[in-house]
Every structure is written in C-alpha cells, then in structure tokens.
C-alpha cells in the first residue's frame, strides 16, 4: 500500500527537480552554444537553443587574442590571486591574534568587524571614487589633490582597494580558533617555534579547511566583482574580464550592430573558472555561506 505511493512521490520529485535544474542551466547552455556560432547564423536561428549549423571557434580566438580578451583575462586571474593571498594572510594573522592574545582594545576591534558588515555599501561607493580621484601627488594631482585624476584609470586600482566586508573572514578565523587545541601551539613553542613560523608551518596546514573556505570564497568574489574595475578603469587592457563584459552587456541594449556570439564567448570564458572551482570545492563554498549564516 505504501510502497507505490512512495515510488510515485519519488518520480514526481525527480521529474520536477530535473525540470528546475534544466531551467537553471538553460542560460548557460544558451551562452555556450551561442558562442560557437557565427554572428550571421545567430540572427537567423529558429530554435529554443542556439544550435550551431557549423561550429566555429572564431569567437574563442578573439577571447585569447592580444587585442581581445587576453589582457583582461590575465588581469582577472592576477586580481583574484592577489586578493586571495592578501585576505588569507590578513585572516590568519588578525584572526589568530584576536583569538589568543589578551590586550586592551580587543573588544573594539571585534566591534569594528561586526559593525562593518551592516554598513550599506552605497554609503562609500561614490565618496571612495571622489577621494581616489583627489589623491595628492598621483596622476597629475598637486599636494591639494587638484589638477589631475588621481588613481582613476590606473591599473593599481585593480589591486589596492580593500573593502571592510573582507573582515568577515578574520572573524571566521577567530571563531575557528576556538576549537583548535592550544596544546599544539604550546608544544611548538617549547620546540622553539616563533610567531611567523607558527603561522606558516602550524596554522596554515592544520587550519587548512577554514583557510580553503576563505581562499575560495575570496577568489570567486573578486573574479565576479565587475563593479570596482568597471567604475575605476576605462581602458579594456587594464580592466578585468567581468568588468569589460559589463560594458559589452550594457551596450547590447543600444541600437546598432550587435555581436552576440562574441559576447557569449567572453561570458562563457568568465563563467568557466568559477564553475570549475565550484565543481571541485563546493564543500568549502557551502561551508563558507553556512558559517557566515550561523555566525554573522
């Protein structure tokens, strides 16, 4: 009596979840297939999915060409790698100190970390831009910050800004130190291990999982952050892939000749690295949101 009912439920579940998954995957399939078409074919297709009459890799040639996507692609990789290193180092160092040392003002630092998470980013978006353009002695500015354009359009803007949202990872590391046995640190100290060696040789490997959570989420977040480079850098060769795509995508709305397959090739290229990271490390990504959810 009960068994067929359960089988029916299971079948309904399978079918509906497959439908939902296909719906979610559809834009990706569309982008991949569209990127394999010629511009002329894309305008004339008559199907639900852009199925290419003849497969072409011309658009990917453009993605990797020197005057095409090669520079922004390389910049995107560099930027994600740089912020990952920087955030991991900051999280381990500050997180360890906040978890283990006793000093005056500790509560204040923790308060800053928590308070920073609820400040809406709209409050700093435009003021940051103005201040960057007014930095003294840079980009033709005098000591008053007048006369030039500061660091606007400077490639350094890919690497310098550090939002206070990244402090969340410091907090996460501090929390994770609570379940880390002090005996390990004590033993290392008895063997003559100094502070820096302890960070690199003991904490980095033994806190591997939490470091992976921080590294992977930071890398993804920065790869997908199109807004910062889009606002500050106006030159494709100094920009990132996702920021350049923001320009291309918003131009799709305008009148005139549009090369959808080329945009799709770049978009597919921008999605592949995060997709691969997700496939291999989804455990850490999910742990990242889960721990942020519980502790934030």
């Amino acid at each position: 009596m009960k068994k067929p009912a359960r089988a029916v439920t299971k079948a309904v579940w399978l079918v509906s979840m497959t439908a939902v998954s296909l719906l979610f995957a559809y834009p990706f399939l569309y982008s991949i297939l569209g990127s394999l078409m010629l511009k002329a074919d894309f305008g004339n297709m008559g199907t639900l999915l852009p199925i290419p009459q003849s497969v072409t890799f011309k658009n990917y040639g453009y993605v990797f060409s020197v005057d095409g996507g090669a520079a922004p692609l390389f910049n995107s990789l560099q930027r994600a790698a740089w912020y990952t290193l920087w955030t991991v180092a900051m999280s381990i160092l500050c997180g360890y100190v906040l978890a283990r040392y006793e000093f005056r003002g500790k509560k204040f630092f923790i308060f800053v970390i928590v308070a920073a998470q609820v400040v809406p980013s709209v409050l700093t978006l435009l003021p940051s831009y103005i201040l960057v353009s007014r930095l003294p002695f840079l980009g033709g500015n005098n000591w008053m910050g007048q006369g030039g354009h500061g660091l606007i359009n400077n490639k350094l803007m890919l690497f310098l800004p550090l939002g206070w949202g990244s402090l969340m990872w410091v907090f996460l590391f501090t929390q994770s130190m609570k379940s880390f046995p002090r005996a390990i640190e004590e033993a290392a100290e008895i063997d003559g291990c100094g502070f820096w060696r302890m960070m690199v040789r003991i904490l980095l490997p033994l806190q591997g999982p939490i470091v992976a959570v921080i590294a992977i989420n930071t890398a993804l977040g920065n790869w997908n952050d199109w807004l910062t480079p889009f606002l500050y850098i106006n030159n494709v060769a100094d920009s990132t892939l996702t920021a350049w795509l923001a320009t291309l995508t918003s131009n799709l709305q305008q009148f005139g000749d549009k090369d959808y397959p080329k945009v799709f090739a770049l978009a597919t290229m921008a999605v592949i690295p995060p997709f691969l990271i997700f496939l291999f490390f989804q455990k850490y990504i999910i742990q990242g949101i889960a721990s942020a959810g519980v502790k934030g």
């Binding site: 008559g46 002090r182 996702t242």
Partner: protein, 307 residues
C-alpha cells in the same frame, strides 16, 4: 581534555615580559590592516556625510557647502520619491520571491538521494557566475524582434511577439526572475542547513503525540528556523535595497523610467553626470533607509520572540 585545560590555566599565569610582547605583537599585526581598511572605507564613509551637503559638479571643481539644499530637492521633487519607492517595492518583491522559492527548493532538497548533488549544483552555479556575464543571455532572450530570442518561440506557438521593454510588468518580471535565478542558491543552502539542524527526535516525539504534518511545521520547523530566516532576510534587505546591476543590465530603467531605481540613479548622477553633491545626498537617503529597514526588521523579530 584535562591536559588542555591545564595548559590553558598555565597560560594565564604567563610571565609579564611575554605578556608585553604579545600585546605589542597584537597591535603590530592588527593596526596596519585596520588602518588600511579604514582608509578605504571609514574615510569615504565620513566624507560621504559631508558630500551630501555640497554642490559639486564635475571632479575638477571644488565642493561648495549648500546645507540642506540637496535634501530639499530630494523631498520636493516627486521623481526622487518615486525612485526610492520603486527601489523599495522592486527590491522587496525580488527578496520575497527569492526567500519563498529558496525555501521550497530547500524542502525539495532535504531528502536522501544520490542525485541531490546534481540538482544542488544546478541551482547554485548562477550565483558563482558574474552578473555582467549571465545577464547578456537574458538580454539576448528579450530581443523585441519577432524572429529573435523568446519571441521566436512565442510566434512559433502562434502568439504575437512581445516588445518586452515597452511593458513595465514584463521588465519587473524579468528583473525579479533574474534576481531569483542568480541568488536563490545560497539562500536555499542556508535554509537547508537550518532544516537539517533541527533535531529529528522532536518530530518523532510530535508523531507519538499525534501531531499533524502542519502542526509539526508550525511548532517545530518554523521556530527552529527563526535565526536562519533572520539572517536571510537581514542580508537580503541590505542587498535588495542596493540592487541596481540587474536593473542596469536588463531594463536600463525602461519603459520610460518605470523600472528605474534610486541606486541606478545614484550611479548615473555620480559616475556619468558628475552631479556629485546630489548623488551624495541620494546615497545618504538610501543608506539611512536601508539601515532603518534592517533595524525595523530586527525590532519585529525581537518583539515576536518576546511574545
């Protein structure tokens, strides 16, 4: 365990030289990072408080203090109020749809199955993809020509082609659809974590006492998910009140500004038209409203807990 406790208590009686070294090291490590972050965040935050009270057109010029003039403009010109209201209702609509759909997906994924991982990947991947990359597909699908995108399918099925961007309804629909498609994954995973965190023996006990399915949902599942719901909605409010990327890429505020939102206006006033003082005032209004919404939500939550 006792060994750890012993070393921990020993650690409390450290010699003071060592204690002093730790204090010094703590500041040496923390201060550079915190000062650097303050330069990039706290200084702009404070500068923003000043910016909204100035007239400042073009980056090359100097800001001129005008007091409350920008805020008077904001609250006397109806257009700004409309932009703020649209930010609120479009943002909340998107957030509501996202919260409900993510909860349903979490319920659907809260089962024992070997293929569950594939479905979870499918609903999560949009979230790890850049907004600027995936909106391009939506723009292509919403091509107004009869032989392009979704219209091709509609006309093939015998319908008439829709000029999507001429209709407020359709533009809002696609903005919300994209919002949910992009953000439902993390919310569903957080819900799922909450569902799995509820002690199964509670359900067993309820069944023994003869509780119905809905009673179980009402008295076990919903109270057990309170904190999760708070997190999803609180971060959701802050995010939805600053949503403009989806609007910028999908509708550009069309038709006739009927899907335009305040955040998009801030972007245009600030970064395109360089009406910096006014954009600063708009930012302050939106920032304060966002924080008020978050606080209001926290207050509601606190009150319902007291009952």
């Amino acid at each position: 365990m006792s060994a750890i406790a012993k070393t921990a208590s020993k650690a409390k009686r450290r010699p003071s030289a060592r204690r002093r070294r730790e204090v010094r090291r703590a500041y040496l490590v923390l201060l550079p990072f915190f000062i650097y972050i303050a330069l990039w965040n706290l200084v702009p935050l404070l500068y923003g408080l000043y910016l909204g009270f100035t007239e400042y057109n073009a980056l090359g010029s100097s800001p001129k203090w005008v007091g409350l003039a920008n805020f008077q403009t904001f609250f006397s010109v109806p257009e700004y109020g409309a932009l703020l209201w649209r930010q609120i209702w479009m943002g909340m609509l998107a957030l509501l749809c996202n919260t409900v759909i993510s909860f349903l997906l979490a319920l659907a994924l809260n089962v024992q199955s070997r293929v569950k991982g594939i479905f979870r990947t499918a609903i999560y991947v949009p979230n790890v993809s850049a907004v600027s990359a995936t909106t391009a597909v939506f723009v292509a699908l919403l091509n107004p020509l009869a032989n392009q995108g979704l219209n091709k399918i509609i006309t093939a099925l015998g319908g008439t082609a829709v000029t999507w961007s001429y209709s407020q309804f359709w533009m809002v629909f696609w903005i919300v659809a994209y919002f949910v498609w992009q953000r439902v994954g993390p919310a569903a995973i957080i819900w799922l974590g909450g569902l799995q965190g509820i002690d199964p023996s509670l359900y067993e006990a309820a069944k023994v006492d003869g509780a119905s399915f809905w009673q179980q949902v009402r008295y076990i599942t919903i109270p057990g998910l309170k904190f999760i719901a708070m997190y999803i909605l609180l971060t959701g409010i802050i995010g939805a009140m600053q949503m403009f990327d989806v609007v910028m890429f999908i509708s550009k505020g069309n038709p006739f500004g009927l899907t335009d939102v305040l955040m998009y206006r801030i972007y245009r006033d600030g970064f395109i038209n360089f009406n910096l003082g006014m954009a600063g005032a708009e930012s302050l209004v939106l920032g304060v409203v966002t924080v008020l919404f978050a606080l209001f939500y926290l207050w509601l939550q606190r009150r319902s807990e007291d009952e």
